[in-house]
């Protein structure tokens, strides 16, 4: 799933300062799962903005709405009759949300309320970790099911580098050295020959380096 984190409230307040009617739009997708953009969080942000307004002698009207997803036009359409009533819309969906809203409602001021971070999963309740860099050519099976592109700080395909220490990456004790894990796993499974095999330079064409991407399912397109 896409993992995001809330923007500091100060930053959000700066975006919408002097605006009187605000709509906060959440999303029941990924951001609900990582507890930053669901109905609850919409409520918390709305309440915070209202409190701020009252504290500063302004009456800020904040409406709350949570869409099923902000990455599908049919759901984005749901607010077409109300969005025009607001001075600003804060989307707390991932980066797709503010953009889809901006495209669908070009005359509305749309602001992002979260910082989208990565594609990852939950390690335990409350902790999410990056797993995928969206390189477009998945080869995790060559590395014991672990991805060096997203999880090695240097995206090495022939790792590890000399900075691996106690299973941790040189950049931080909090970052696992994925190559340490890859090598240990594959050596334990007697797959040393696979590890020794030279991995040639990666083609980054299918990654974001090749340009903004699309994925089309022809059999579904009208």
């Amino acid at each position: 799933m896409i993992v995001a984190e809330p923007k500091p409230i100060k930053e959000i307040l700066e975006m919408v300062k002097d605006l009187k009617k605000i709509l906060v739009v959440g999303c029941k997708g990924c951001v609900t799962v990582c507890n930053v953009g669901g109905t609850k969080e919409v409520g918390i942000l709305a309440s915070s903005i209202k409190i701020y307004g009252k504290k500063n002698g302004q009456e800020i009207e904040v409406e709350e709405y949570t869409l099923e997803r902000q990455c599908d036009p049919e759901y984005v359409d749901e607010i077409k009759n109300i969005i025009g009533d607001y001075d600003a819309v804060i989307s707390i969906a991932c980066g797709v949300g503010p953009q889809f809203l901006s495209e669908r409602y070009p005359s509305s001021k749309i602001f992002p309320g979260v910082n989208t971070k990565f594609i990852g999963g939950a390690i335990e309740h409350g902790i999410w970790s990056e797993r995928c860099a969206g390189c477009g050519t998945c080869v995790v099976h060559f590395f014991g099911g672990l991805c060096p592109i997203s999880r090695c700080s240097k995206s090495l395909l022939n790792g590890p580098c000399g900075g691996s220490s106690n299973g941790k990456c040189e950049i931080s004790k909090d970052v696992e050295c994925i190559w340490d894990s890859i090598v240990r796993k594959m050596m334990e499974q007697n797959r040393l020959d696979e590890l020794i095999e030279f991995k040639p330079p990666k083609s980054w064409i299918t990654a974001r380096d090749g340009g903004p991407r699309r994925m089309i399912r022809e059999e579904l397109v009208k």
Partner: protein, 135 residues
């Protein structure tokens, strides 16, 4: 400033805090009348939004009274509530307000005296800070 009477909302769990409240009643110790008590089964049930809403509605301070960490009847309720109170302290700061307007207290069942003391303590703290929505 001295005759400012802060309005407080207190979330009290049914275990420790409420039994302490009963003891206090029995001891004829009066709670300050500007503290509104909200009884809840366990402080773990409190959400961040519950802690923000009183401020939105004009409260000057909020506190949570629950069990000691090692004797919470529902094991981790008070621990969760404490984390949420800390989160709201941060929100208050970001909104340009004082984090001391919200706090969490660990009480033992039957400590009526403490229950009342905590209420007065919080009232005094918030009194010093002044009204939440200043003029």
């Amino acid at each position: 400033m001295n005759d400012f009477k802060p309005q407080l909302v207190a979330f009290c769990c049914s275990n420790c805090a409420s039994s302490a409240a009963k003891v206090a009643e029995g001891m004829k110790k009066a709670l300050p009348d500007n503290v509104k008590i909200i009884h809840i089964p366990c402080t773990g049930r409190i959400e961040i939004l519950h802690l923000l809403k009183p401020f939105e509605e004009g409260a000057d301070g909020v506190y949570v009274a629950g069990c000691q960490e090692d004797s919470c009847q529902y094991v981790s309720g008070i621990a969760k509530a404490t984390k949420r109170v800390m989160y709201v302290k941060k929100i208050l700061e970001e909104l340009g307000s004082e984090p001391d307007r919200i706090d969490v207290f660990n009480l033992s069942a039957g400590k009526g005296q403490e229950f009342v003391e905590v209420a007065y303590k919080m009232v005094n703290t918030v009194k010093e800070l002044g009204p939440f929505l200043s003029a």
